[in-house]
């Protein structure tokens, strides 16, 4: 039998866990959850959600696939493998908003089927292109008449409050979220919001009042809890109210960021687009990473040339917001994510295993790093050899661009500082690549001294 590996993020719910066998993703449904599981299935909700693309597909498989683990489970399900697991602290505002709306829509649909959700974790949502998809089949259970929304606090912390931080204060939520994996508490947001925001009834209710009441001792809440009888309509209205509110949220004062207009002001050289197309058609990659994706021009070109999934990474919130909205309106299988490439997402959470680092998760068939290397090497002092090694570890094949010191963009980076980058030369750049990969193609960008390099590690034995 093959190795059965429990997913290190799947430990909170005793009702079942996620396992990996080879490349297959399997879920146990333990006896404690079997009755709820049967009820939810018989309600027709799961089928409906899967058919509408809101819930990840599942197929029941033989328990023996999980060996001993399978023996103790009531059911074993198999789910399709996602191209990349991303975390809410890597999402754009538009992505977190789409995920929040999906979470609320699923609750409303579940209630129509006499079903409720056990929690409201943002980590239960993943993306296929710009489409959010719910992945936790064990989050569903039978609705108990009169119950409150158990996941309300979690929803506020993991969806609402981060969105409000960015919508009302103009502070992107990503760094704060990454620093507090469970989300932004009402108490934190209450301290940050100005008075005129706090008196908005919705803000007062979900942030100010919730935060004030949170200070009550939990023994008082325990006394109250059994006496609360939330009418179903009240529960629905609570969810619908949040849905309406979140639908109308937008990033604060849509100011143009540094790189947002870059793509509009600088048309992508046709030569570069042609090389991207040729590269994709030749390599035929399933998963492509576009590092420094900006608004996603090359991602779109890659998809048009036949790539299946493209993930973009960039640090510029404005450009990423635009990338997400473009991809959504054009229905591209492209997900732009917030990532400072010199400080990529770390391994964190329980035992430092719960949320994987970017490097652990990064499994691309191909990558682009176009007009990126100079920003990291000169803008952030990353030694060229280390940078090339890091890039080459991410994907076996790719396109890299070298922008020399004579280029106006690099001149701009060096304007206010001493040039301490003796290693930053085209020769050294090519040499660093050649140490680990072969250069399939090398193209000089017409009208500049920039160099495009197509590398491949396929025939190199390490």
């Amino acid at each position: 039998m093959n190795d059965v590996m429990q997913n290190p993020a799947s430990f909170r719910d005793p009702r079942g866990s996620i396992y990996q066998v080879d490349q297959r993703i399997l879920r146990t449904v333990m006896p404690v959850a079997a009755a709820d599981f049967d009820f939810v299935r018989s309600s027709g909700l799961i089928e409906k959600l899967i058919n509408s693309g809101k819930l990840i597909a599942e197929q029941q498989v033989d328990n023996t696939i999980l060996g001993e683990v399978g023996q103790s489970a009531s059911y074993v399900l198999e789910h399709p493998r996602l191209a990349l697991i991303s975390y809410p602290y890597e999402w754009t505002f538009a992505a977190l908003k789409a995920a929040a709306l999906l979470q609320l829509d699923i609750i409303l649909e579940a209630l129509d089927h006499g079903v409720m959700l056990t929690d409201a974790s943002a980590y239960n949502i993943q993306f296929q292109g710009t489409q959010p998809i719910f992945i936790d089949h064990l989050a569903f259970r039978r609705y108990q008449p009169g119950e409150i929304w158990q996941g309300h606090r979690q929803f506020c912390e993991q969806f609402l409050n981060p969105l409000l931080l960015q919508a009302y204060l103009g502070v992107p939520f990503n760094h704060h979220y990454r620093g507090a994996l469970e989300g932004i508490t009402a108490a934190t947001l209450k301290k940050l919001l100005p008075f005129y925001r706090k008196i908005i009834p919705k803000v007062f209710l979900h942030v100010v009042l919730q935060s004030s009441l949170q200070k009550t001792s939990s023994s008082d809440a325990v006394k109250v809890l059994p006496k609360i009888n939330m009418p179903l309509d009240g529960l629905r209205n609570l969810v619908k109210g949040l849905r309406r509110w979140i639908s109308g949220l937008h990033p604060h004062k849509i100011t143009v960021s540094t790189w947002q207009n870059y793509a509009q002001e600088h048309t992508a050289p046709t030569q570069k687009l042609a090389l991207v197309t040729e590269f994709i058609k030749t390599v035929q990659p399933n998963i492509v990473y576009d590092l420094g994706c900006n608004t996603g021009i090359y991602a779109k070109t890659a998809l048009q040339a036949g790539a299946n999934n493209v993930f973009g990474f960039d640090g510029d919130h404005g450009a990423l917001e635009q990338a997400f909205n473009n991809a959504k309106s054009e229905q591209l299988n492209f997900l732009p994510l917030v990532m400072d490439l010199v400080d990529p997402s770390p391994a964190q959470g329980w035992a430092n295993l719960e949320r994987q680092s970017f490097t652990q998760r990064a499994k691309a068939d191909a990558l682009f790093a176009l007009a990126l290397v100079h920003h990291l090497a000169i803008g952030k002092n990353i030694p060229l050899s280390q940078l090339i090694n890091w890039l080459l570890d991410i994907a076996p094949q790719g396109l890299l661009e070298f922008v020399p010191k004579s280029d106006p963009m690099v001149q701009e980076l060096l304007r206010l500082r001493e040039d301490i980058f003796a290693d930053y030369t085209e020769d050294n750049f090519l040499q660093c690549i050649k140490q680990r990969a072969e250069i399939v193609k090398q193209v000089r960008v017409v009208g500049s001294e920039r160099m495009l390099v197509w590398y491949s590690k396929k025939n190199i034995k390490m």
């Binding site: 108990q144 409150i148 949170q214 809440a221 609360i228 009418p231």
Partner: protein, 85 residues
């Protein structure tokens, strides 16, 4: 200040008026959220009751209206036998 401090609690405790509903999962809903929803449940309960009564009020007027509208017919039908002894 003191009023605003105790107001939520007063509201919570006055809002809680009906029978229980257990079934709680592994997630801690948080005291703030529980009490807040106690309030909302209270309001929702009040609204549900008002709706119920509103329906009764509407039904009452509907019945009255029906009675008035149908009166001439019933009068005729009632009167007919009495007018024709």
């Amino acid at each position: 200040m003191h009023i605003s401090k105790y107001l939520p609690y007063c509201l919570v405790f006055t809002a809680i008026y009906l029978i229980s509903a257990p079934a709680y999962a592994y997630l801690d809903p948080g005291t703030g959220s529980v009490l807040l929803q106690g309030l909302l449940a209270g309001f929702a309960g009040v609204i549900a009751v008002l709706k119920l009564y509103w329906r009764r009020v509407k039904q009452f007027f509907w019945d009255v209206k029906n009675k008035i509208c149908s009166k001439p017919m019933t009068e005729n039908s009632d009167n007919r036998p009495s007018n024709n002894p």
